[in-house]
Symmetry: C2
Subunit: 522 residues, 2 copies
């Protein structure tokens, strides 16, 4: 026993970095071999948070201990694929490994979990740490659940939104206005963006639209546009196209906008959490980060949409307006008819077909999709200082009917990289089944949620040609045996499961009379 | 496009099971290669929950996609180490893989996240799914945070406790009473169990004590006992010892008691969550599952303990009593002096030394440890119907002073498997530093939390000989330069960091006068 200070100076341990080919999605995971000397001496626990450093860069990760040299060797530290990519240090580089200093914002996270109200500085620090992947999935889950329970007040939503913008890149298009349109979603089809962008760009306004891929829906705008053109553009290329054509329809992933939003969504999704505060912060942060100055927001309202009552829609609208106002984003909220899907197709190929039919003024084009797109495009056009209030719709309609919108879409498609698409014969999945009406009557309700789920079961959006094609909409008369919709699937296992599921409940209700309560819009 | 029902019958895909040597602790993780045909067709998303089945067994896991054939091949499905062990199916067996049916209790989990009160049946279903690892870390985090926010009422705590017992094994020792003692923890040292068990067993009562290893403290009872004897006994051997000697001091991990508790603790710990309801359910479920009929519960109270005010201690006591009553466990709660560590040593070897000194009636034995152990052992002995209320202490003292407790401890050590331990020369870590008083005066406060943290930094409990040896306690006079405590560490990196940390704040306050407010116990 050596009671005094005989301190040997040991050379601090460095381990060689190894890339481990495991996709851990939004989480950073590190791997140490159980026999690694550093593991033995440092007292790391299972699931400890550690910090890995080299070349002035650092990354936090959750530690997994490994017993297999084929995965990581005793003198190595492994990083899972997303962590390795984020770290941006070459494999084989000697790195330092130590216990992670807790994120600077951890006290603020703990206070939110304890139910306290947080200040602007707290949110800035929190979102910075969230965007840098400094929190584990468990900590993030605790945060989002607490934010839901204690109902962020509207000031907190402003702070959260601002912080999410600050913690990532913010685009500046160097002109005004920069316009955009967004739907909160929750109804199937509804592919209006792919019509609004060419219409508004043809009018001459700047509309650099980036969109996401679907997370829980059967098709996102990026998935649908990908049937017609490339969407994964390098950011510089996207800027060129926007400057040349006034608009684009690209995937937003390359631009690193509001990355904290993506991290939080990865945790909210498995918990089916979507509180108003989180929804507002998520949507507005992405739009502000994308450089938008003016936004039209579509809130579909209906018994199977995200928002199910007018009072709820109004509360959400007020919250959006309050936050947008404080962050100097000009916002126009439109509450729309969400009682049924908009359009005929649900699924990327089917929706791309509908969009091209509208642009081509094809008589088979879904009238509701055309009408809604014109209405919303008109509201966007009214952000133009030279356009009289109320004239937007007519301008949009003229642009569409004259073929200028089609020409603009073709220019965008060519610039992004045209893909083979034949609107007469879109590449649909090879198996199909039809669901028929079981009685005479009229269609009295259509359940968005069931149809969305059915389209997911058929394989959309991963299988682009899968989905559901609707033949009848609300208020249509049907006779027993007539087809209501056809579902397409590529794999017979998907088809079988989807057909069983639809047999159980098709999503359609046939009744005697449909009260065509006009949907009063605000 | 094949519009009708040309369904090919495909042979359902089976993959070969592969053991992947990654320790994912409480979570089950599965690995599929990105090119695996099943991954491509089934539409699994990153982090999807899947179910793996074979031989009538099934397991749920979170899916990670892999790009490295060395980890898992295209026709294989990998399971992380703990998942593979839980699944109990041989590597190479063909298994079925599909989307996980959501756990049956998921609606109840969602309701708790939404803030609702749950019923008995809800908790039974929930804990069953928790114990079977059917929930992801994210879902569990949401559950524990929500249980904390909405303050489970006392009935819910009863339901939760009961459900945690039901979802695991329950021992029956086939006699009454079966006694036990537990401390809620939060103060350093306090190694009373290792004195109470031999005393009570020598008296003739059945005290089959299983203990845990430390999670956040510098030593658990299992870690400390392991300095003297084996603690990881096969369950059958543990039963034999208990029947022969009336007691044991074993590690509880082999008995599979209240497994849901371990799953929840793994999530609560990183979040530093420990609400009263969760604490009561955790402790009482383990004791009831272990077959205890009578329990003495020690609640230390002090400014740096877990419980910091008498009203808080009383509330906690009432909750323990209510739940124990409803579950027919006889409970005696003792609120004890938690203003400083109990004993001299903090860390496994140092605490084992203290325990053996008390059993040997060594004059160097810490008086506070001896006194507290006798008091609590006396309360346990008073569960004996033949013992008069108040006589327990004297009986315990006689057993200790006569050497019967030492003889019993030696018998238990021999039965479990004696280890080399010399109380005159315990195997302490090789480096040390001393912290001295900076002024003359008396010790007016000792911060448990700082000392616990310091002991962890020295490497306890993983390094058994590491820790802190206290020379002065509350109220003791000191002169400037006199040693307050000595810290032991094995690795110079630990020593360096610990010494820096202690230099910053030693945990001791020296003042002019110590108000020896007698700690009034209830």
């Amino acid at each position: 026993m050596n009671p005094e200070l005989a301190v040997e100076t040991e050379v601090p341990g460095a381990l060689a970095l190894r890339r481990v080919g495991i996709d851990t999605y939004q989480e950073n995971v590190a791997f140490l071999h159980r026999a690694c000397p550093l593991y033995l001496t440092e007292g790391f626990l299972a699931l400890a948070r550690i910090e890995v450093r080299a070349n002035g860069r650092s990354i936090l990760a959750t530690l997994n201990i490994v017993d297999d040299e084929a995965i990581v060797g005793e003198q190595e530290i492994g990083l899972s694929e997303p962590a390795f990519v984020r770290f941006r240090v070459a494999a084989g580089t000697p790195v330092q490994v130590e216990h992670a200093t807790p994120p600077a914002s951890l006290p603020a996270l703990r206070r939110k979990i304890a139910g306290e109200r947080l200040e602007r500085a707290d949110y800035l620090a929190l979102m910075r740490d969230v965007a840098q992947h400094r929190y584990s999935a468990i900590e993030l889950a605790a945060f989002v659940v607490s934010s839901g329970h204690f109902d962020l007040d509207r000031e907190e939503v402003v702070f959260l939104t601002e912080a999410m913008v600050e913690a990532g890149r913010r685009l500046d298009w160097r002109e005004r206005p920069v316009v955009d349109k967004h739907s909160i979603g929750g109804i199937a089809g509804n592919r209006t963006s792919m019509l609004i962008v060419p219409i508004v760009a043809a009018h001459g306004m700047l509309i650099p639209k980036t969109s996401s891929r679907a997370i829980t829906s059967p098709a996102g705008t990026a998935d649908t546009m990908e049937c017609l053109a490339n969407v994964e553009l390098p950011f510089a290329r996207m800027q060129e196209i926007v400057h040349e054509l006034r608009g684009c329809l690209a995937w937003g992933g390359t631009a690193d906008l509001a990355p904290a939003d993506d991290v939080l969504i990865a945790v909210e999704r498995p918990l089916s959490l979507d509180s108003p505060g989180q929804m507002v912060a998520s949507i507005l942060s992405k739009k502000i980060a994308a450089g938008s100055t003016h936004l039209v927001l579509d809130i579909p309202l209906g018994p199977s949409a995200k928002v199910r009552s007018m009072p709820e829609a109004q509360r959400l609208r007020k919250l959006f307006e309050f936050v947008a106002d404080r962050l100097r984003l000009t916002l126009d909220v439109v509450i729309t008819d969400g009682r049924q899907p908009v359009g005929s197709g649900i699924g990327p190929m089917l929706e791309a077909r509908d969009v091209m039919r509208v642009l081509n003024s094809d008589p088979r084009a879904p009238a509701d999709l055309r009408q809604k797109a014109l209405r919303l495009a008109g509201r966007v056009i009214e952000f133009d200082a030279d356009v009289r209030g109320g004239d937007g719709f007519a301008i949009a309609r003229e642009i569409l009917d004259s073929g200028r919108a089609l020409a603009k879409m073709n220019a965008i498609i060519d610039a992004q990289g045209r893909r083979d698409f034949d609107p007469e014969n879109p590449a649909l999945a090879r198996h199909a089944f039809v669901v028929e009406a079981l009685r005479d009557g009229v269609v009295t309700s259509i359940d968005n949620e069931r149809l969305v789920r059915l389209a997911r079961l058929t394989g959309a959006p991963k299988v682009r040609g899968a989905g559901v094609d609707l033949f009848r909409k609300l208020g249509d008369s049907v006779r027993a045996g007539e087809p209501l919709y056809r579902a397409y699937a590529e794999y017979s296992s998907d088809l079988r499961f989807a057909r069983e599921w639809a047999r159980h409940a098709s999503g359609y209700t046939i009744g005697d009379r449909f009260e065509t309560r006009e949907f009063a819009e605000f």
